[in-house]
């Protein structure tokens, strides 16, 4: 099913837009004929087409069709305004890997959707500099994990994890799980909620995701901490970047500058991005 939402410029917040008032002079300047091929392409299309998968990944984006909200949506809106074109969020992709397919095939101008950088993906698309940084974390069923680490230190159990590990299907965590927990039995689920339920009921020993996503579960359900816990892996960091078609070097550089002007040159943790873009993170 095709899920496309057009966003009109008149509805967008202005705070993050360079030349926010969108004056005619600025538009005329930007409409010059010496723009790069990628930006000319966007102008010809008359909109900025951004791919976001049909999954929930708050606070980056929500699952609902309209109005979708989140850090990535706010950035995409501001980016479209900087290019003086309306934004079109394309939610046809069912997974993060399908989003990469869309970018590689040229069906969208970019993917801005909590996208992890992996080498297989980098062979097909071009990544911008990371704009967000997330720490990897395990969401753990306490009883199952204790049975798994019987007589051993929890740290050793994690380092030699041999239990059932849930991940989001067709996501970068498949590669991460294979790399970080080669002895684990990996189970893929279509959405993170299913991984969460499977861990909570004891079907899985643990789920693998990022610290911010798991922390939100504990904030939402206070009783969860009795049955589950989180182990944050300090040395495993997921740097989130925007994917553009592999030849769009100038467009990637443009997005890097845009991000730097908006929230600095450093990739920010999810919590700080939420504050920067004024997103409700509940």
């Amino acid at each position: 099913m095709q899920r496309i939402r057009r966003m009109m410029l008149g509805n967008l917040p202005l705070a993050l837009l360079p030349g926010a008032a969108f004056p005619a002079a600025a538009a005329a300047e930007a409409q010059g004929t010496d723009a790069s091929a990628a930006i000319s392409h966007i102008r010809r299309d008359g909109m900025l087409k951004v791919a976001v998968p049909r999954v929930r990944a708050a606070p980056f984006f929500t699952l609902s069709d309209a109005p979708s909200s989140g850090v990535d949506i706010a950035i995409a809106e501001a980016l479209a305004r900087s290019l003086h074109v309306p934004l079109q969020i394309d939610r046809r992709a069912g997974s993060f890997n399908e989003v990469i397919d869309q970018v590689a095939a040229g069906g969208v101008h970019l993917a801005l959707c909590k996208l992890s950088r992996t080498l297989p993906r980098a062979q097909r698309v071009l990544y911008t500099k990371p704009y967000a940084v997330l720490q990897h974390a395990l969401f753990i069923n306490r009883l199952g994990f204790a049975a798994l680490s019987r007589g051993k230190k929890p740290e050793d159990t994690v380092r030699n994890f041999e239990g059932d590990l849930g991940i989001l299907a067709n996501s970068s965590y498949h590669d991460f799980a294979l790399r970080d927990f080669p002895r684990a039995r990996i189970h893929e689920y279509s959405d993170w909620e299913s991984v969460f339920d499977a861990v909570r009921t004891g079907e899985l020993h643990a789920g693998y995701s990022d610290h911010h996503t798991i922390n939100r579960l504990f904030a939402a359900d206070r009783s969860l901490s009795l049955t589950a816990r989180m182990i944050t892996l300090n040395d495993k960091v997921d740097r989130i970047a925007v994917a553009v078609p592999h030849a769009a070097f100038h467009f990637a550089a443009y997005i890097d500058l845009f991000m730097e002007l908006n929230h600095g040159a450093q990739a920010l943790p999810a919590g700080e991005l939420v504050k920067t873009y004024g997103i409700q993170d509940a």
Partner: protein, 431 residues
């Protein structure tokens, strides 16, 4: 003089101490901010009580061992003591397991109650999130082996042990020194024995003075403890605490019954004689601090033979750790029930065995560290400990007070079972 005497009797009365303790509890709940300010007062009082423990222990053990070394009964005292410690430990472990299996304090199915537990857990930031590196950093802390732990009780420097307040090391030194002194010609050791006797008697006088301050000490300590803890964790852990309370009550009544029968006194008299001891146990939560008072009650009030009591009470304070055994058995079964894990009979036996072994290691250990030892049993059983640890910590003040009550009551009862009983009409008048 008469008025001073009656005021002292009023302060020494268990009813007065009970009244002040209750007042402290109410004050802590109603005015937590003001009650917290009383903490230094309570701490100073506990410091006073502990001040005399080490000289008391050294003088009483060395003096008693010297006196008993040529007494054939002393060997039988010690062998009886070990039999009683083993029997009481096993009986306590089984009693606790039976109570936990029948009362099921950890079976909490109500979503509301589980949410309340979650709230208590979430109050602690470390309760659900821990951090680590996936790659080994290579700076793993050196692990202490069981053998090293055991060998640590042997003091290399008695003055160091005294400075550190290491009760176990001082005890080992006193026993060795007492045995050695017993082999020295009686005349040669006479002056040292007289000196030790003077130290002992002085400590007893100090104990009686400090008892006069017990109502105020109890008020301050209990007010500060209640203020910090609040009522919410108590209500959340009501199942665990009421099971622990019931076990404590049963063990306390059984102990008093044993003491009454051995001393020839009525149950009520034996109970009233121990009133202040129980209040001191609740407010100080330190069995070591109660040693002088236990000896005072058994010797002066109930007329048991002094040398045996003086030797047995400090020894059993270290070896008869029934309060800790109750904690480990009840705590393990509570956690298993909390997570809906059925325990096999073999696992229950393993819990009892480990509880007895671990109980021995808790002498002189702070309450919180003693609770943390429960993780050893949980690890063997494959039970999660971290969340339950936060819950236990939330109610540790009350649980520790109950455990100390068990300790002092059973130490008194075990000593009464071994020490030669008083002849009829041997009771000394109070004061």
């Amino acid at each position: 003089m008469g008025e001073t005497g009656s005021f002292a009797a009023f302060l020494r009365s268990p009813a007065t101490v009970l009244l002040f303790s209750l007042g402290g509890g109410i004050f802590g709940i109603l005015r937590p901010d003001a009650a917290t300010l009383l903490r230094p007062v309570g701490d100073s009082y506990l410091g006073l009580l502990k001040l005399i423990v080490l000289p008391f222990m050294i003088s009483s053990i060395i003096f008693s061992l010297r006196a008993m070394i040529n007494d054939k009964r002393s060997t039988s005292h010690l062998s009886r003591m070990f039999v009683i410690i083993l029997g009481a430990s096993v009986a306590t472990a089984f009693l606790t397991a039976a109570a936990a299996l029948i009362l099921k304090p950890g079976t909490i199915t109500s979503a509301e109650r589980r949410a309340e537990i979650g709230h208590v857990l979430n109050d602690s930031s470390a309760s659900y999130n821990t951090s680590m590196t996936l790659e080994e950093t290579g700076d793993r802390p050196d692990e202490t082996s069981v053998l090293e732990l055991v060998l640590k009780v042997i003091p290399s420097n008695i003055f160091g042990a005294l400075t550190d307040g290491n009760t176990l090391q001082v005890l080992i030194f006193s026993i060795l020194f007492g045995f050695a002194l017993g082999t020295v010609p009686f005349d040669a050791s006479g002056s040292l024995a007289s000196g030790l006797e003077a130290v002992y008697q002085t400590c007893m006088v100090l104990t009686r003075w400090f008892i006069l301050l017990l109502p105020f000490g109890s008020f301050s300590m209990i007010a500060a403890q209640t203020a910090v803890m609040g009522l919410k964790p108590l209500m959340t852990m009501i199942g665990f605490l009421s099971t622990l309370g019931l076990i404590t009550l049963v063990m306390l009544l059984m102990s008093i019954q044993v003491i009454a029968r051995r001393s020839g006194e009525s149950f009520l008299t034996a109970l009233l004689d121990h009133g202040n001891l129980f209040m001191m146990a609740v407010s100080t939560r330190s069995s070591v601090a109660c040693i002088p008072l236990i000896i005072d009650i058994l010797v002066k009030k109930l007329g048991f033979e002094r040398h045996a009591v003086e030797l047995l009470v400090p020894l059993q304070t270290v070896l008869l750790r029934l309060g800790s055994i109750v904690l480990y058995v009840l705590g393990s079964i509570f956690i298993a029930q909390l997570y809906g894990r059925e325990l096999l009979p073999s696992e229950l036996l393993m819990i009892c065995f480990y509880a007895i072994m671990l109980g021995l290691s808790t002498a002189g250990m702070a309450g919180v560290i003693a609770v943390a030892q429960l993780s050893i049993i949980c690890s063997y059983l494959g039970l999660p400990f971290e969340a339950a640890f936060i819950l236990f910590l939330a109610v540790e003040t009350v649980a520790d007070a109950l455990r100390t009550l068990i300790l002092v009551a059973t130490i008194s009862a075990a000593t009464a079972s071994i020490a030669p009983a008083p002849p009829i009409q041997a009771r000394l008048p109070d004061g």
